[in-house]
């Protein structure tokens, strides 16, 4: 098995891993680096449980291969605390009890944090559009939507307070 090394930043620190060119980022995270907050519920880009930030944007780590990672800045759910929005998102989702089994939760949290980073005042349609790629089987989504809206409200309150 031919392995190459690929170097990128992961959760703020440089890493170099040996991996075949087509090894998926989700497998590198879960199996090579034992970072299991990122889940792999479909591995075909169709559930969002594997969402990570690559260069600041939420993408599916199961569709991202090792050869595409060279020099990238990757943040997995474990490293999300680096963004102030993440804390608000997590607290709001927890307070609204947005999740049940929770297996989808890290993916939603990554997607929502990325949304608030790029758009601090999303409306319901913006939130739904941003979460279109995240499947949750337990909740029927309404609790997640309520959590997301609570996070948006908390961010607005924080900004008003800061002004």
């Amino acid at each position: 098995m031919s392995r190459e090394t690929v170097s990128f930043r992961l959760n703020g620190a440089p890493v170099t891993v040996a991996a075949a060119a087509d090894r998926r980022l989700v497998d590198i995270l879960r199996d090579d680096l034992a970072l299991t907050a990122t889940k792999a519920a479909c591995r075909v880009g169709r559930c969002g449980s594997c969402m990570v930030l690559v260069n600041g944007e939420a993408v599916n780590s199961c569709l991202t291969m090792a050869w595409q990672l060279d020099g990238a800045d990757v943040v997995s759910a474990e490293g999300l605390a680096a963004f102030p929005e993440a804390d608000l998102v997590r607290s709001a989702l927890a307070a609204e009890v947005s999740f049940q089994c929770g297996y989808c939760a890290p993916g939603f949290t990554v997607a929502l944090t990325a949304l608030l980073k790029s758009n601090p005042t999303p409306d319901e349609a913006d939130i739904k559009a941003a979460l279109e790629g995240n499947i949750c089987r337990c909740t029927g989504y309404l609790s997640i939507l309520r959590g997301a809206q609570a996070a948006v409200a908390a961010l607005a309150a924080q900004q008003t307070a800061a002004e």
């Binding site: 075909v44 569709l63 089994c101 297996y103 949290t109 739904k128 559009a129 279109e132 909740t139």
Partner: protein, 1047 residues
């Protein structure tokens, strides 16, 4: 075979590599999907990402989009938004945002199946391509015929001039994040009300990209007012070339695309516009007393936050499939790959010889019984004589890594003698059908008859008869089956695999492994969703055999494809139902014949069918009933438990029948139900006693008072048909009168001052942990935080029965009720000794012990301080065990304690595509006191979501004994865009004065009324009563067309 990524520096170099057989890759998202679908992976890929432009600009009225531009950039580009808004629409329809940030415009177009194609054709796009050392510009359609060494470098689109009219529509399998069934786009350039040019196109998915010239001719050079839209529609249907697959017919694709183009360009859609909705609104809304809205805002003082939520959101909760440890082997299971065959021989020698393989197991390694199954041991742990479905396990391997395990699987040779396939469950019961089991294909048959059914039908005024067909719904738990097993030094085995009943898993494993139960510890929590689908053993037998043989810890998790083919599904049913009423609407006769698919083994299917048959009369009094249910073995995977457990299939049928009879009689849907409702206190369906607290009448009140009835029905602003419908149901809790149904739990005061509440129940997400905290803290008088739930571990928790059948809530509550007084007394006595007071003068309070005689609430002694002064070997503890309450009826299985519910639903039916959007999904529930509001709400909303999928989008389609659906790319669980826009949940908490059974579990009540309520709302909107779920958009289009003819 290793993949090499080639990174040429020039287009010339790249073209050379492509000519040499390498394959181009850009973002790679479509390509990976193709690989995962089983298409061959190339050895060499040429990365075009850095070679092609990724900018968007405009010059001389032409927009140029570099092939390397990400799809997401089309959505955010100001230039595209201003000049080519059609393209923004098309881009937004592709997959989901995360995927669009990876995929490129070039990749979407070059792959030929991309969703941009119809829009680009309508925009008259051209492509620039690099071949033979130079870049040339060509019409877009030329791309389809260009040699593979050609590189797509940019898309060039002339900005349409003057007044234009555009249409774009992607028809998918659900509201968003869906494969394309067909995409259609059109653009008219208009001058003074005259169509100067017209371009119409379809494409995407299995539809070849095509311009529709003959249809365009019907528009070009016409005055807008003179366009014959219905001729255009006919022409489009005639001209579009496409094909059928397992999901949608070619006919549907053509109709939907033609409708979309006609409607989008201004021709409207031809449907009969009924002026008045079909259902009568309930006559006199009665506002039910005491019913409360279940929401955080309305129940703020009772709202609790589950103890595992923070870790789940942060991703720090370790699921059993997340466990990684050095030296742990990776397990894989070899599946039959053939639906029905005798096994002649299994040769594992090559796999065993492969370096890195530590253990290979087959049936020969089984020391105990090679058979398991909750109701009957008919499933082999590893097959030895024959295989009965595609994913029957035959062997398993444990290796040092996943690659080696995969290689080893491919080296195992199994010699099969194929047997004839048993595919249709009705045909399976015919004389001479090939046998799946030697005992016969009829796995179970249930009959029930009372009254004089023939005479009743003879005097009926109205009769409705139909066949209701329900799908092979997949549980779709996000965490696929898996976990790890550790062989311990003392010869025991620690099994950490998600499940729903640890002690039963242990018993079944003990029989297979020939290992005493005391030597097996089963940890089943936390689990990432189950819904009934992890009730039966799944990977445990093979994984345990591997761990024992390897003598090392082994982990294993099914990938989604393997889970799709191997997991238990909801039993598909065909329900023939004939229902009669008299002139006033009194139900007088009901004749029901059900045939259900069991798949290859029984699992819980007989109980599922029996539960369905318990509901043939719904909650109504019908004097004359005949029912028969048959369960057939086939080679269609395995079926069994799934939330609703057969009731929701039957409730769909009976509730639809009742609503249809209401139409015939001229009653509103509440009135006919009220007329026929069972009377509280009268015997249950089998004449058996049922528990008090019947709330059917109150649920009808709530449904009748629901404000949705007073919303606008008929056509909405988008031209969709809006309707409202309702359904009523009740569902039992617990396993029923026949099965052993134990419950119990234990409270123990711990050294750290917490109260450990130990239950052998599982947290699959439904909220066992918050329910334990809520119920026990309430019973004791302490705070939720004082309670530490310990669950799902046979090494630490007592027998509580299975975590199924909405039974956990009762077990939790009853244990708390029975043990809290004793523990409270022990704690107060211990504190009294320390404080030199009497136990009766003390009370349990949040965080500790207070003086019962004062109102101050101040703690006299914190729990932690009390614990510190107690003998660690004799900490206060109380435990109990009991049986789940059941009826004394034993001729069949029947339920005793029930929940009640009504759903009121508002839908919008799109006459363009036949697709249905659920706008409102309100559920009114009566299930006794709410234990934990968030969990209660979550169960009803979540059950509603699964019901919505069962009704509109979900079916694990099988053909020839194989699943056509392989993953979430085609198995359509609702996405957030499919969720109801609003959903109001109300609860009626009261119990009758003489009711000793406390709160009911709400795990199942949230699904049953959803399907018939949606069906009724569709009927209200369109006049069409769907009887097959998932409801086919094509059937709705046909019904609308039919209605048109009548009108």
């Amino acid at each position: 075979m290793a993949l090499t990524i080639l990174k040429p520096r020039t287009l010339d170099e790249a073209a050379g590599l492509l000519a040499d057989g390498a394959q181009a890759i850009s973002g790679g998202t479509l390509m990976q999907l193709a690989w995962l679908r089983g298409e061959a992976q190339p050895e060499r890929l040429v990365d075009l990402g850095k070679l092609t432009r990724d900018d968007i600009n405009e010059a001389d009225g032409v927009v140029t989009i570099g092939a390397g531009t990400r799809l997401a950039d089309l959505e955010t580009s100001d230039l595209i938004a201003r000049r080519l808004p059609l393209l923004v629409q098309a881009a937004r329809s592709i997959a989901a945002p995360g995927v669009r940030r990876l995929g490129t415009v070039g990749g979407n177009v070059a792959g030929r199946i991309g969703c941009l194609w119809p829009a680009l054709l309508a925009l008259d796009a051209r492509v620039t391509v690099f071949a033979d050392g130079r870049e040339t510009e060509r019409p877009l359609l030329d791309w389809l015929a260009l040699p593979s060494a050609t590189i797509l470098t940019a898309i060039r689109i002339p900005v349409p001039a003057g007044e234009i009219r555009t249409a774009y529509r992607k028809i998918g399998l659900r509201a968003a994040f869906t494969p394309s069934i067909i995409g259609a786009a059109g653009l008219l350039e208009i001058e003074d009300g005259h169509v100067r040019s017209a371009r119409l196109a379809v494409g995407a998915g299995i539809t070849r990209p095509q311009r529709l010239a003959r249809s365009e001719a019907l528009l070009t050079n016409r005055d807008l007012g003179a366009i014959d839209w219905s001729a255009l529609r006919e022409s489009l249907i005639d001209e579009i070339e496409t094909t059928s697959d397992a999901y949608r017919s070619a006919r549907y694709r053509k109709q939907a695309a033609a409708n979309a183009l006609v409607a989008g360009l201004g021709g409207g859609v031809a449907v009969s516009r009924r002026s008045s909705p079909r259902h009568l609104a309930p006559a006199e809304p009665i506002q039910p007393d005491e019913s409360i809205e279940v929401s955080h805002a309305k129940l703020a003082s009772r709202w609790g936050v589950r103890p595992d939520i923070a870790a789940k959101v942060a991703g720090t909760l370790e699921y059993l499939t997340d466990h990684r440890a050095p030296g742990m082997l990776i397990g894989r299971i070899l599946r039959a790959g053939i639906p029905h065959a005798n096994i002649r021989a299994i040769d594992t020698s090559a796999a065993e010889a492969l370096p890195g393989v530590v253990a290979v197991v087959t049936a020969a390694d089984i020391r105990g019984e090679n058979a398991f199954g909750i109701m009957a041991a008919d499933q082999p742990a590893l097959c030895f004589d024959k295989v009965r479905h595609m994913s029957d396990p035959v062997a398993a391997v444990a290796a040092i890594d996943a690659e080696t395990a995969a290689r080893a699987l491919s080296l195992i040779r199994v010699d099969y003698e194929p047997l004839p396939l048993v595919e249709d469950w009705e045909a399976a019961l015919a004389d001479g059908a090939p046998l799946v089991h030697a005992s016969g294909n009829l796995r179970a048959e249930f009959r029930h008859e009372r009254g004089d059914i023939e005479a009743a039908f003879a005097r009926a005024t109205h009769i409705v008869e139909d066949v209701y067909v329900t799908p092979r719904q997949m549980h779709g738990f996000m965490e696929t089956e898996g976990g790890y097993i550790v062989p311990e030094a003392d010869g025991s085995l620690t099994v950490c695999v998600g499940g729903q009943h640890g002690t039963r898993d242990r018993k079944q494993l003990s029989l297979i492994l020939g290992l005493p139960e005391e030597k097996i510890r089963v940890v089943t929590s936390p689990t990432g969703g189950a819904f009934g689908g992890k009730d039966e053993l799944h990977v445990q037998p093979a994984l345990a055999l591997l761990a024992l043989k390897a003598g090392r810890p082994v982990r294993l998790q099914l990938d989604r494809y393997e889970s799709v083919i191997a997991s238990v599904k909801r039993n598909p049913m065909r329900i023939r139902m004939r229902t009669a009423c008299d002139a006033e609407g009194r139900l007088i006769a009901q004749d029901v014949d059900v045939i259900a698919d069991s798949g290859a083994y029984a699992s819980l299917s007989p109980a599922v069918l029996e539960t369905a048959l318990e509901h043939v009369a719904g909650p109504y009094r019908i004097g004359n009933i005949r029912s028969r249910g048959r369960l057939a073995f086939t080679n269609n995977g395995i079926c069994g438990a799934f939330r609703g457990f057969g009731a929701n299939q039957m409730v769909f049928a009976i509730e639809s029948q009742v609503s249809r009879l209401a139409e015939l009689v001229g009653l509103d849907p509440v009135a006919i139900r009220r007329l026929n409702l069972r009377i509280p206190g009268e015997p249950g369906f089998f004449g058996h006693e049922v528990a008090p607290t019947e709330r059917l009448s109150e649920m009808l009140d709530a449904a009748s008072a629901n404000p949705l009835w007073r919303t606008e029905r008929g056509l909405d602003a988008e031209g969709r048909l809006v309707g409202v419908g309702m359904a009523l149901h009740h569902q039992g809790t617990g396993l029923g009168s026949l099965p052993h149904d134990p419950g119990g739990g234990r409270l123990t005061f711990r050294a750290d001052g917490k109260i450990e509440a130990a239950y052998g129940l599982d947290e699959m997400g439904q909220g066992v942990m918050p329910a334990i905290q809520a119920a026990v803290s309430q019973a004791l008088g302490c705070a939720r935080e004082d309670i530490v739930p310990v669950i799902g571990d046979t090494g630490r928790t007592p027998e509580s029965g299975s975590t199924t059948a909405a039974r956990g809530t009762y077990v939790i509550w009853r244990t708390a009720r029975d043990t809290a007084p004793g523990l409270s007394l022990k704690l107060r006595e211990a504190a009294a000794r320390l404080l030199d007071l009497r136990a009766n003068d003390l009370a349990i309070a949040p965080g500790g012990i207070r003086d019962a005689r004062s109102n101050s609430g101040a703690l006299l002694l914190r729990f932690a301080d009390l614990a510190a002064r107690l003998d660690l070997d004799a900490m206060p503890s109380e435990s109990t065990d009991f049986h789940f309450p059941k009826a004394d009826y034993t001729e069949g299985n029947s339920r005793y304690v029930f929940c009640f519910g009504a759903a009121v639903v508002r839908v919008a039916v799109d006459p363009v595509s036949g697709q249905v959007q659920v706008l409102d999904l309100d559920q009114h529930i009566a299930a006794g006191p709410i234990v934990d509001p968030a969990a209660y709400l979550g169960q009803i909303e979540g059950g509603g979501g699964q019901g919505l999928g069962f009704t509109l989008t979900e079916d694990a389609i099988m053909q020839g004994g194989a699943f056509v659906t392989r993953n979430f790319d085609t198995y359509m669980m609702p996405s957030i865009a499919d969720a109801p826009l609003a959903s109001r949940i109300t609860a009626l908490e009261s119990l009758d004065a003489d009711d000793p059974h406390g709160p009911r579990g709400v795990g199942e009540i949230g699904i049953g009324a959803v399907t018939p309520a949606i069906a009724a709302a569709i009927a209200d909107a369109t006049g069409f009563w769907p009887v097959v779920t998932p409801i086919a958009p094509e059937a709705i289009l046909d019904a609308l067309a039919g209605a048109n003819h009548v009108a």
